[in-house]
Amino acid sequence: MKHLRLARLFLALCSISATAADETSIVLIDAPDRDFTTAHCAICHSLDYITMNAPVMDRARWRATVQKMIDRFGAPIEAKDVDRLVAYLSQHYVNRE
């Protein structure tokens, strides 16, 4: 499956750069679809783009952001996977203030 291939790519990238404080220190919350999300969202940038924006986000903003990654930046995410990514992101990375 494609997302497994992406996950392997991500792990390969991590092993190249195992130093004290680098992006491997940023790990998404351990819950269903964590690896699925990591595989799609760590291709072009580190996952701090997600953690840093959590206080700003809600479900609608995550949907818009995932769509922007696809439409504007060419993220290799299939339309059928969007709901799954938005579900994970908006369950774990939203404003709880």
Binding site: A12, H45, G74
Partner: protein
């Protein structure tokens, strides 16, 4: 699907941005050749200058904030780097080495603030997505190089030129991601102060600040200060690219500042000049001041190049204001120091604010002008201190 080439590009990116990153206390992280800075993101590297490093008149190169949109950042060998001047708006094409630039054109150095459009985005209410910068996505340096106008004059600019387009060496992981390309209106490109810079505070431009050469556009936000320059193209049509048409846009008419008419659309316009602003560098939030002991408010004020006319200080959260003393002015694009003696005779809380006014009459506003991308935050800070 990822090709082998893409995989290699991605690996290079990780190596480039996290190589030898070192941890230290308080969430500060040191990139190669940098002191520990506030890590906003690792790949691409977005690192913010802590407030304490903004106290010196010139921000140290190793403390200067780092901002990239895209993570593949090649280390360029200065000795075989060349800059191409091309495009349908030129009379002839040029290829210039760093030696040519140094030897053939008049050298200029300009003290100027380099400030990210999204500086203080993280302080927006309501909050907006993007890199969550606080006060340190800015710095002040002496930029040395040659005038872009002189270089363009040698290439010969045709009278119908509209914009100048700047292409750099950095890129995204996937070829589908738009590379970071920006343009300037022709009149701003040939303005006296627009430089092709290869020195920063008297030193060769450091890698993370755009080596071998970058664009310096004093008075305009840092989005136009293109790093790792490769090609400069003079064009007769407005440049059509993602980072001009879809990013760095403001609602039309919402803010003052230079216009960029060839890039306007029906409802939005590109961000251009820095708005009048100031920063209090001391005291710091939460400081305790000894009663009846002399204490001073200090900081910097700057704008898009009209120069700073006045800075006023409030100690009661903006109910009343008194003028601060201004340091000497070293240039229209430089920041200007201010100082103000605090009255520490009575115990209690002071809510200190600074409010700058430019020579063009513009003053820091009381309220934020909300905009979707979180640009132009120039509302006065409030620094709370205890006198006890």
């Amino acid at each position: 699907m990822l090709t082998r080439r893409e995989l290699m590009a991605a690996s290079a990116a990780v190596l480039a941005s996290s190589r030898e990153a070192l941890a230290s206390e308080a969430g500060l992280v040191a990139l190669p050749d940098k002191k520990p800075l506030i890590a906003r993101s690792f790949r691409p590297p977005n690192f913010e200058t802590p407030l304490a490093d903004l106290r010196q008149p010139f921000t140290r190169n190793d403390a200067f904030f780092v901002r990239y949109h895209l993570p593949v950042i090649p280390e360029i060998d200065t000795s075989d780097w060349t800059l191409a001047i091309a495009g349908p708006g030129t009379e002839r094409e040029l290829t210039l080495s760093l030696r040519d630039l140094r030897r053939d054109f008049e050298r200029v150095a300009i003290p100027a603030v380099n400030q990210c459009s999204g500086n203080r985005r993280g302080l927006f209410v309501p909050r907006v997505p993007g890199v969550q910068w606080e006060h340190g996505a800015m710095g002040h340096a002496l930029w040395g190089g040659v005038r872009l106008a002189d270089v363009l004059r040698r290439a010969g600019v045709r009278p119908d030129a509209v914009e100048v387009v700047f292409e750099c060496a950095d890129a995204g992981v996937l070829p589908q991601t738009p590379v970071y390309v920006k343009s300037l209106p022709i009149d701003r490109a040939v303005a006296e102060s627009t430089l092709i810079a290869f020195e920063m505070n008297g030193k060769p431009l450091p890698h993370l600040h755009g080596a071998p050469a970058r664009l310096v556009v004093p008075g305009w936000t840092a989005t136009y200060w293109m790093k790792h320059l490769r090609t400069i193209r003079v064009v007769q049509q407005p440049f059509d690219g993602f980072w001009m048409k879809n990013a760095y846009r403001l609602p039309l008419g919402a803010f003052p500042g230079a216009r960029f008419p060839s890039q306007d659309d029906a409802s939005t316009t590109p961000i251009t000049e820095i708005l009048v602003n100031s920063i209090i560098t001391s005291p710091a939030e939460g400081n305790r001041l000894r009663r009846s002991k002399p204490a001073e408010v200090r900081g910097w004020a700057w704008d898009g190049g009209s120069g700073i006319a006045a800075v006023d200080i409030s100690v009661d959260r903006g109910q009343s204001w008194q003028p601060a003393k201004l340091d000497a002015e070293i240039g229209p694009f430089a920041w200007r120091g201010f100082r103000f003696r605090l009255d520490t005779r009575t115990a209690g809380t002071l809510e200190v604010m600074a409010r700058a006014t430019g020579r063009n009459g513009q003053r820091q506003p009381q309220a934020l002008t909300v905009n979707a991308a979180g640009y132009h935050h120039n509302v006065p800070q409030v620094v709370k201190v205890e006198v006890a």
